[in-house]
Amino acid sequence: MGWALALHGGAGDVPRTLPPESREPRLATLRRCLGLGTAALRDGRAALDVVELVVRELEDCPHFNAGRGSVLTADGTVEMEACVMEGATLRCGAVSGLSTVANPVSLARLVMEKTPHIYLAFDGAEAFARFQGVETKDPSHFITEQNIERLRQAKEANRVQIDYTQPMKGPQQAPQETPAPVDDNSQTG
């Protein structure tokens, strides 16, 4: 049937009332990335190159929760993670706990291509990035005002949030040590 691609920018409880100034920049980035990926496939580029190219673009867009625009940990820091996989060979690479790597997806690919391992995390992943000479940034590069505000709201509500969870009004129960039953909305909003 020929080439095809699909991309996503996160899923969650996005209200229909999402204002245009939040909606349009995201749709514009999706449209631009779809165009980049489509052109690359039309040029005969390999699927692995295309998915890396598209995800790098999405990582650089501050409106999505990856790379620049990553959401913040309870400590107000960024810990990014990424993964790539190639279907024909089952080769794969993954990274976690990154705080300075500009494009985590490309480091994940280097783990796949340059190491006998699959998954490097935190200090080891950061050291591998230095060794490979990938582009790095000051941790502040990844932090946006919007995500600082989201963290403040989440702390106020005493819970963690997936992409696009809407702030809830009123007192909230404290996060539980063990995962709450899934139907406990305070965990997923």
């Binding site: 496939l41 295309v50 999505f64 929760n65 996989m85 089952l90 995962p179």
Partner: protein, 131 residues
């Protein structure tokens, strides 16, 4: 979380996912994205990238399950993805997937997923909610 799956003109499949994780997560928390078979998986049949609540995507081994249903039950991509997404707790999972034959699927049990797709046959889609 962001992700992309592709099948190229030669039929090769690949997937990539990247994320900052959950707002207000504990330092050191690992989500589904880097756990191969949970948030990200590809084999000779399909490529999948998932997004949502990492803990649930790991519990339900979402990405690998889509591939396994195609592999062991010979389900088409769309049915396999629909079954896996329906089987996870509501409001926790979204995924994009392509098959070797160029089928595309974008499924979610959340209210919305920022998504886009295109095929050589000329189908394109960009959306947020399922209208």
């Amino acid at each position: 979380t962001v992700g992309c799956v592709a099948v190229d003109a030669a039929g090769n499949l690949a997937t990539a996912t990247s994320t900052g994780g959950l707002v207000n997560k504990m330092a050191g928390r690992i989500g589904d994205t880097p756990v191969v078979g949970a948030g990200t998986y590809a084999n000779a049949l399909c490529a999948v990238s998932a997004t949502g609540k990492g803990e649930e995507i790991i519990r339900y081994t979402v990405a690998r399950d889509v591939a396994a249903l195609m592999e062991h039950r010979a389900l088409p991509l769309r049915d396999a993805a629909a079954r896996v997404v329906a089987g996870a707790p509501r409001g926790t999972v979204g995924l994009v997937a392509v098959s070797r034959g160029g089928e595309v699927c974008m499924a979610h049990n959340t209210t919305a997923m920022f998504r886009a797709c295109a095929t050589e046959a000329g189908h394109t889609e960009i959306g947020i909610w399922t209208d």
